[in-house]
Amino acid sequence: MDRIKNKFPSIPEIVLVLSTIVFINFSWSIGRMFWFLPSWLYFLSLLDIIPILAYVLAFALFESLLVIGFLMFLSFLLPPRYLRDHFKTQGSLMAIMFGGTSILAHRYLSIAYPWSPRQIIVYSALFVSAVVFLALVISYLSIHRFARFEKLVAGLAERMSIFFYIYGPLGVIGLLVAVIRNIF
């Protein structure tokens, strides 16, 4: 049991990485929502918009948990020195890189439209593997080679934790609202 437990990072480190992920996901989702908000205000009342916000927050929380779950899984799979030992900084850096890559992927997603189903599966799998591998290598090298950079990322991750305490409960409230609306 302890052997398995030791393969995972400590809870404070997980929380700090989750803070970074939550910050990226929630900021993106809420920011994009503000982009849509003016058009919604043409015909929706505040009471109509609150449930939409609830779904958005709940989904951002869901996505955040999946990303941290994936990073924890990687940490479990890899030898400790590649991720677990510097999970706070490496994990945060990888989360930032995942977010940035995803935004870029959205921009160029239309490239995939003419592809056959087989090509989509193969190329997507290759792309995701490459992104994960590169993120891992870049984060490993930059954190291990540049102590100042590691300090900078650690500071950043710690400052992000405040957002976790804001966005996290909002996500949970959103989830509750979504669940209640779909039960009753």
Partner: protein, 514 residues
């Protein structure tokens, strides 16, 4: 005064109390049986609405290309309305007007995926026709389906949007039926939609999954659909016509009489992706009247508009073929003898003045004039009605057919030929008002008012085209080429005054947000 109950009185009271739930139940069963008995004498009502079908481009109404031979055949035993007009230029407001019997400025659903004012939402056809009818709604269009969800509690069977599609991947309809409208806006219109959706990671997987499934379906049906398979506005709703219309046939077969079934079908809405047999069937020398680009022109050249029009015509012919199959099936299963079959559209499509489509401030006839063909039970002769009629007339007509009274607040009239009277003085209104707040007076909008043979088009609040009126004589100038507003200012003034009064009246309740 006797203060306590005797044993005998107690037993009497107890028996009465014990009977009361039973009595209540018996009363309900009897009432229901009475309603059912009345309803069993009522005719079925089938509404088939083809999205974006302009009457101007149907051979049924004199278009030179033979786009609608099956509708012509159906019309031989039906009532054909020649001057039927949509209440608005796109699905949401026009469908809402159909289902509520009031104009867009009253129900205020004039935005993409807008909804009827909450304080008016109980005033819909499904509710008013009563539960003596089995009420079914199927909208193969996201915007119309949102309206059906708004009226969901009054619909006995709301058929899912993608039920008869090859792909059925909308999120709100499949996973959140209890909170569909919020989920629709959250997931299908925001989190998983657009170039930069609200979801950072899952939207990528969702989009790629949809693209993959769509491409697989396209490859499978490539020989039948060389231009690609249609998608009901979204690739995740890709469909082929045969499945869609076969699904509707099965749906009608399983209705319990008397029933009211509202079917809103996506074809011939763009993109124009007909089956192979209909491609190139209109390679002819026919050219429509050329019209000068409008102020609101989107820069489409006449040559390109001709290509698009021809493709639209091919697609109409494809939809008409399927309609022929559907109507034949309705006849085969005996529903033509017991049902009112209403075939109509929500709005038309424009291919002129530098504009293609219906998302435009322009309200010319190709966008507003829509088909309306109604077959009455057992009708054998064709009847032609030339009076001006509107989308808002369908709800009162359906209520009248169903033996229900038409509410006072209804802004439509029972159609002539179906219990109503034709009135030359009748005013027919249409509106385009997307750029307005739903709960504020209309400030930037286009209005159309048709009275007798004259049509006033009024543009309000558009920068650079503010307060402009156009007047046409539809009888002598059906192509709306000769603007009479300069030569007949008194008529413009008269119609304008009527329109102003109507809008002022309609804007009053809009000031109070529900």
């Amino acid at each position: 005064m006797k203060r306590s109950l005797s044993r005998r009185d107690f037993l009497k009271l107890a028996s009465i109390l014990a009977m009361s739930p039973l009595a209540d139940k018996t009363y309900r069963v009897l009432s229901r049986a009475q309603a059912t008995s009345q309803a069993s004498q009522s005719p079925n009502i089938i509404v088939i609405l083809l999205d974006t079908l302009s009457a101007v481009q149907l051979s049924l109404y004199g278009y030179p290309r033979d786009t609608s031979p099956n509708l012509v055949r159906f019309a031989e035993r039906a009532t054909v309305f020649h001057s039927h007009h949509a209440a608005a230029n796109f699905t949401t407001p026009s469908t809402a007007s159909f289902l509520t019997g009031v104009h867009p400025w009253t129900h205020r659903a004039f935005h993409f995926s807008g909804l009827v004012r909450k304080d008016l939402q109980a005033r819909n056809i499904f509710n008013l026709i009563g539960d003596g009818y089995q009420r079914t709604g199927f909208a193969h269009n996201l915007l119309a389906n949102a309206l059906l969800f708004q009226f969901n509690e009054y619909i006995d069977q709301h058929i899912k949007l993608g039920s008869y599609s090859l792909l059925d991947k909308t999120i709100y309809d499949n996973y959140f039926p209890k909170d569909a409208l919020s989920a629709y806006r959250s997931f299908d219109q925001y989190l998983f939609w657009g170039d930069y959706p609200g979801s950072l990671y899952f939207s990528l997987a969702y989009t790629l999954g949809n693209v993959s499934d769509y491409n697989a379906a396209e490859a499978k049906y490539e020989s039948a659909y060389p231009r690609g398979i249609p998608g009901a506005g979204n690739p995740q709703l890709a469909f082929i016509h045969k499945h869609l219309f076969d699904g509707v046939m099965n749906l009608l077969e399983t209705r319990r009489p008397p029933f009211f079934t509202y079917i809103h079908l996506y074809p011939p809405h763009e993109p124009y992706l007909p089956r192979k047999e209909f491609m190139g069937i209109f390679r002819d020398d026919w050219k429509p009247v050329v019209k000068k680009p409008h102020y609101f022109s989107k820069g489409e050249t006449d040559k390109h508009l001709d290509i698009l029009r021809t493709r639209y015509n091919e697609y109409i012919a494809n939809a008409d073929f399927e309609m022929g199959r559907l109507l034949d099936h309705i006849a085969k299963i005996g529903l033509l003898d017991t049902s009112y079959v209403i075939v109509t559209s929500d709005h038309g499509q424009l291919f002129e003045r530098g504009v293609h489509g219906h998302n435009t401030p322009l309200l010319y006839e190709p966008i507003l004039r829509i088909p309306l063909i109604i077959s009455q039970p057992g009708q054998q002769e064709r009847i032609d009605i030339h009076a001006n009629t509107s989308t808002v007339d369908l709800m009162p007509t359906i209520l009248s057919i169903a033996g229900q009274s038409v509410p006072e607040w209804c802004e439509g009239e029972v159609l002539p030929g179906l219990g109503g009277e034709a009135s030359a003085q009748r005013s027919i209104y249409s509106v385009e008002a997307k750029s307005n707040y739903a709960y504020q007076p209309l400030s930037m909008a286009t209005f159309s008012l048709i009275k007798e043979s004259y049509k006033l088009i009024q543009y309000r609040g558009y920068k650079g085209y503010e307060d402009v009126s156009e007047l046409y004589d539809l009888k002598n100038d059906p192509d709306e080429l000769d603007d009479l507003s300069k030569t007949n200012p008194s008529l413009v003034k008269e119609l304008r005054a009527e329109l102003d009064a109507k809008i002022k009246e309609a804007d009053q309740p809009a000031l109070q947000q529900p």
